[in-house]
């Protein structure tokens, strides 16, 4: 898939999710929060397939598993933390007061910290990054 196709696909997923979120936040609807997050689950499945395909394509070159895991550590970590964050947010919204808020946001904070570290390291490697 080209960048334009991936961008439009992601845009469509976000659009559907926002529409469902608006409907769910209205007091008239009482859907399950896991149903509201359906577009994001679908996107996560696509992400997992995407990472697996990338993994297998490298696997054919008979690399060691540890090397492959190290090579794709950002992808694997990002996908796992994203899915965990979404599950925890859904659980907290669906069953309020049963899960401590700090447990809920821990995966989210880890995800954001990882993203900050990743973007910061990329930024540090570049010269003339203001342009």
């Amino acid at each position: 898939m080209t960048l334009a196709h991936r961008a439009l696909f992601t845009w469509f997923i976000v659009l559907v999710f926002l529409i469902l979120l608006c409907l769910r936040l209205d007091p008239h609807t009482t859907w399950n929060w896991f149903v509201t997050f359906t577009p994001l689950w679908f996107f996560d499945c696509i992400l997992i397939v995407y990472v697996i395909i990338k993994f297998i394509r490298k696997w054919r070159n008979l690399n060691r598993l540890t090397h492959l895991l190290l090579l794709y550590k950002w992808n694997i970590g990002g996908v796992l933390l994203t899915i965990t964050s979404q599950v925890m947010i859904c659980l907290t919204l669906e069953y309020p007061q049963q899960i401590p808020i700090y447990v809920t946001i821990t995966p989210l904070i880890l995800l954001l910290s990882t993203a900050i570290f990743y973007v910061g390291s990329r930024l540090g490697k570049r010269e003339g990054w203001l342009r």
């Binding site: 334009a4 936040l25 309020p96 990329r122």
Partner: protein, 146 residues
């Protein structure tokens, strides 16, 4: 799904702006958790938040101000240094749209959560929908060769 360079190309944000946004989101998440846990300890079923929502959203407003300052500086420098004035102006306009729409959304959300306005959530989210249309236009302008 996306490389960082592809996101920069699509969204028209620099890596630095993305980094600032991520830092602001991290601080916002922590302040939100503190507020929600404070509300939970009072015993309400739905989180009736203690204090003001504008305080919780202040990290996000702060990064908006930082990004606006950054965009103005980059815009001026690009306009003065570059031969392509049109490109500099285009970049500045896109950053302005992005920042203004996001800031309006956050302000409306604060008002809604504080109970100071009778707007529905679909109206509160309208700046985001407008921004999504602009992002879709940018996605369509991306070259098919990448």
């Amino acid at each position: 799904m996306f490389k960082l360079s592809e996101l920069v190309r699509w969204l028209g944000l620099t890596e630095f702006e993305i980094l600032v946004n991520l830092c602001g989101l991290l601080v916002f998440t922590i302040t939100l958790a503190v507020k929600l846990s404070a509300a939970g300890s009072t015993g309400g079923v739905l989180p009736e938040l203690v204090g003001d929502w504008f305080t919780v959203f202040s990290p996000l407003f702060f990064i908006d101000i930082c990004n606006a300052y950054f965009c103005v500086i980059v815009g001026i420098r690009m306009y003065l240094d570059s031969d392509n004035k049109r490109k500099a102006l285009h970049r500045f306009m896109w950053s302005t749209y992005f920042l203004v729409l996001i800031a309006i959304f956050k302000y409306l959300l604060c008002l809604k959560l504080s109970g100071k306005t009778g707007l529905e959530y679909s109206e509160v989210f309208s700046p985001i929908f407008v921004l999504l249309q602009l992002v879709a236009v940018r996605a369509c302008q991306l070259p098919n060769s990448i």
